[in-house]
Amino acid sequence: MSETSRFRSTEGSHGALKGAQTAWDMLSEEQMQKHITTGCEELDAILGGGIHCKEVTEVGGVPGIGKTQLGIQLTVNVQIPVECGGLGGKAVYIDTEGSFMVERAHQIAEGCISDLLDNTAHRLKDFPACPERLQPNSFLSNIFYFRICSYTEQIATINYLEKFLEEQKDVKIIVVDSITFHFRQDFDDLALRTRVLSGMSLKLMSFAKKYSLAVVLLNQVTTKFVEGSFHLTLALGDTWSHACTNRIILQSV
C-alpha cells in the first residue's frame, strides 16, 4: 500500500525533488497504514492505533515493570495475519541483556492465537490456510533473534541489519532490548558515546523509513539530580531523547 502511494507521489508535480511528498499524500498514506497493536486498547488509543511503522518508539521504565514483556508481545503481535487485521510481518529481536525468554514468547504466542481464534473466527472461515499458520511454533520461527554481548556487537548488528533487511523483506518490527545496557557499562568517553548513539539512531530511523517498519527501543531509567531532589529519567542523556519519535514510560501506580 505504502509502495503505491509513494510511487504516485514521485509521479506528481514535485517529482523532481527526490523523496518529497505532499502533506496530503502523507495523510492518506498514514490512514492506509496499519499499526502494530500493543495488546492494550487504552495504550493503542493513546498511540493513535498502536505502534506506528516508519517511526522509532522508545519504551522506558523501572526494572521489572514489563519493558521486555512489551517487546516480546510486539514481536508476536506484528505477526497477526493480514486477514485478522494485523500486519502479517516478521520481527527482529536484538537482545543485549539476555532477558528474552523463549518459553515466555511461546506462552504469549499461544495467548495471541487463542485471542485471534475467539475474536475473528468468522473471518478466518474464508481463509482455510490460516489455521496451519496459527501455530505458536510458526510464530516463533518468524522471530529473528540476535544475542549481543558488547557494544561493538550492537553497532555491528545494527550495521548488518541493512543487509539482513534486504533479504528479509517481511520484517515489520525491530525491537532492541535494551539500547542502553552495554553503552552504559563499558563506554567511558561520553561525548563519543553520544555521537555513536546518534549515528545508530539515524540508521534505525532510515531502516524504519526505507522498509516501512517499526523500531522499538527499550531504555533503562537512571536517577537525575534536579532542583535539590532525585528524579527518575530515561538513560543516555538529553541528546538521545531527541532520537525517538514516540516515548512511552511504563510506571506502576
Binding site: V102, E103, I148, I155, N159, T180, V196, V226, L232
Partner: protein, 443 residues
C-alpha cells in the same frame, strides 16, 4: 567477537593496510568511531569506509537465530536449576535459568543464605536425583556459609541420599567456598573462576552477598566513583553467565531509604503527588545496590516479612507474573506454605517490607538466628535447630548452643509478662556478648 582482527576479515588489501597503519586493528576500534571520524582518520572515501564498515559489521555481528531454534535447543538440554519449591518453579518456568543473573534481595536473617545453601546442594546432587551433578563455586563475602547447616539441610531434605555412606562428603566436596575480603580480591577471584569454569564442570556460581563486597570497599568514595567500580563485576558476571550457560545467583542487602530519596522511584511528573509520598515513607527499605544494578539482573526475588509471615516475591522476571509466596525456614531449608502465588498489584511488587513488629530478630550468627515472637510470647531459633521454640530446643542436649539457650530460658521466664523494647535491646546486647564468649570458648 569484538576483538576480531580487521586484517583477517578479507577486506581489500589496500584498505586493510590503511586500517592497520592508523592503528585501527580490531572490530571494536573501527566500530566505536562514527563513520566521518573514520574518513578523517583513514583518509579514505566515504564509500570505501562504508563498505569496509559493512564488511566488518557483518563479521563482528553475532549469528542470527530464530526463536524456534532457541526453543528446540532448550528442549534438548536442561536449562533450569529447579529450586524444588513447586510454586516458585512454576512461576519461573522451571527454576533458576541458565545463562542469566538471578538476584535475591531481603533484610538480614530472612533466609537468603538458606536459599543459597539449598541451591548449592541441589546443584551438587547426582543427576539421577534431579541435581546437576556439578561443582559449585560459593563466594561468601559475609562469612555466612556454614557447612554443618548445609549438611543439616541435606539430611532433612534428602535423607535417602545423605544417609548412604560417603554421599555427604561427596556432595559437600563439590562446593568450593571462596571468601574474598575486598573488591580487588573479588575481581581477582572472578578472573580465576572464569578459567575454572572453562576447565571444570562448574554448574552454579553463588555470590553471597554482592552488596557487601561492592559497598564495603568504597565507603568513602563518591557515588559516581562507586558506580564506576561496580560496572566491571556487573558486566563480567553477565557475560560469564552468558558464555558458560550456568545459573549465577547473587544476593543483595537492603538499606533504609533516606528522605531525599523518597522520589527515587518516581518520574518528574509525579513530584507533587503527596499521597504517594506518605506511602513511600512507610516502606522505607530499598535494595542496597541501585537502579542500574536492578536493570542488569534478569530475575529479582524479594524476601520480605510482613503481617506475621515471610514472603518470596517475584519482583522482576521475564516469565512470571507478579506473585508472592509465603514461606517458612525449616530444618530442610526454605519451604513454601502455599504453591499458589498471591497476586501482587501495582508498585507493591517492588517494595521490601520488614515490618514484622511481632518478630524481633535478637541475634544473628552465621548458622543461626534467634527470634523473639511477641505474639506467641516465645523465642524461636532458626538455623541449626530450625523453627522450634526454645522449650523444645533446649531439650536437645547435644546442641553446642544449649548453654546459651538455658540462659535464655531463664531470661525468658524472668520477663515473661513485660517484655518491651528496652529489654529486647538489652537482651540483644547481652546475647551478642554471650555469643562472642561462646565462639571464643569453642576455639
Amino acid at each position: 567477537m569484538s576483538n576480531k582482527l580487521i586484517s583477517e576479515m578479507g577486506l581489500p588489501a589496500s584498505i586493510a593496510n590503511v586500517f592497520a597503519a592508523r592503528n585501527v586493528l580490531t572490530a571494536k576500534d573501527a566500530l566505536s568511531l562514527p563513520e566521518f571520524d573514520l574518513v578523517a582518520l583513514l583518509g579514505l572515501d566515504l564509500d570505501q569506509v562504508r563498505s569496509a564498515v559493512a564488511r566488518i559489521s557483518e563479521i563482528a555481528c553475532p549469528p542470527c537465530r530464530t526463536a524456534l531454534s532457541l526453543l528446540e535447543d532448550r528442549a534438548r538440554s536442561a536449562c533450569h536449576l529447579p529450586t524444588r519449591l513447586r510454586g516458585l518453579d512454576d512461576a519461573l518456568c522451571g527454576g533458576i535459568p541458565f545463562g542469566a543473573l538471578t538476584e535475591l534481595v531481603g533484610p538480614s536473617g530472612i533466609g537468603k543464605t538458606q536459599f543459597c545453601l539449598k541451591l548449592a546442594l541441589l546443584a551438587a546432587m547426582p543427576t539421577c536425583y534431579g541435581g546437576l551433578n556439578g561443582r559449585i563455586i560459593y563466594m561468601d563475602t559475609e562469612s555466612k556459609f556454614n557447612s554443618s547447616r548445609l549438611i543439616e539441610i541435606g539430611k532433612s531434605s534428602f535423607p535417602h541420599i545423605f544417609q548412604s555412606e560417603g554421599m555427604a562428603q561427596e556432595m559437600a566436596g563439590r562446593i568450593v567456598v571462596l571468601r574474598p575480603s575486598s573488591l580487588s580480591e573479588f575481581t581477582e577471584s572472578l578472573q580465576q573462576i572464569k578459567l575454572m569454569i572453562l576447565r571444570h564442570d562448574v554448574k552454579l556460581l553463588i555470590v553471597d552477598s554482592m552488596a557487601a563486597i561492592l559497598l564495603g570497599d568504597n565507603e568513602r568514595s563518591t557515588t559516581v566513583q562507586k558506580q564506576h567500580s561496580w560496572r566491571w563485576p556487573l558486566s563480567f558476571l553477565k557475560s560469564l553467565a552468558e558464555f558458560s550457560q550456568i545459573p549465577i545467583v547473587v544476593t543483595n542487602q537492603v538499606r533504609s531509604q533516606n528522605n531525599d530519596e523518597v522520589f527515587h522511584y518516581s518520574f518528574q511528573a509525579q513530584k507533587n503527588d503527596t499521597s504517594k509520598t506518605s506511602e513511600r515513607l512507610e516502606s522505607h527499605l530499598t535494595a542496597a545496590l541501585g537502579i542500574q544494578w536492578a536493570h542488569a539482573v534478569t530475575i529479582r526475588l524479594i524476601f520480605e516479612a510482613h503481617s506475621g509471615q515471610r514472603f518470596i516475591k517475584v519482583s522482576k522476571s521475564p516469565t512470571s507474573p507478579a506473585v508472592a509466596f509465603p514461606f517458612v525456614v525449616e530444618s530442610s531449608g526454605i519451604s513454601l506454605l502455599s504453591h499458589d502465588g498471591l497476586e501482587v498489584t501495582g508498585a507493591e511488587i517492588c517494595t521490601i517490607h520488614c515490618q514484622d513488629q511481632d518478630t524481633t530478630f535478637l541475634t544473628r550468627g552465621p548458622s543461626h538466628t534467634l527470634i523473639f515472637d511477641a505474639s506467641l510470647q516465645q523465642f524461636s531459633w532458626l538455623g541449626n535447630i530450625a523453627n522450634r521454640d526454645v522449650d523444645q530446643a533446649s531439650r536437645i542436649e547435644t546442641s553446642p548452643s544449649s548453654i546459651f539457650l538455658d540462659l535464655l530460658l531463664t531470661y525468658h521466664s524472668c520477663f515473661k509478662c513485660e517484655i518491651d523494647q528496652t529489654i529486647c535491646i538489652w537482651l540483644h546486647k547481652f546475647l551478642l556478648l554471650l555469643q562472642l564468649l561462646i565462639e571464643v570458648g569453642q576455639t
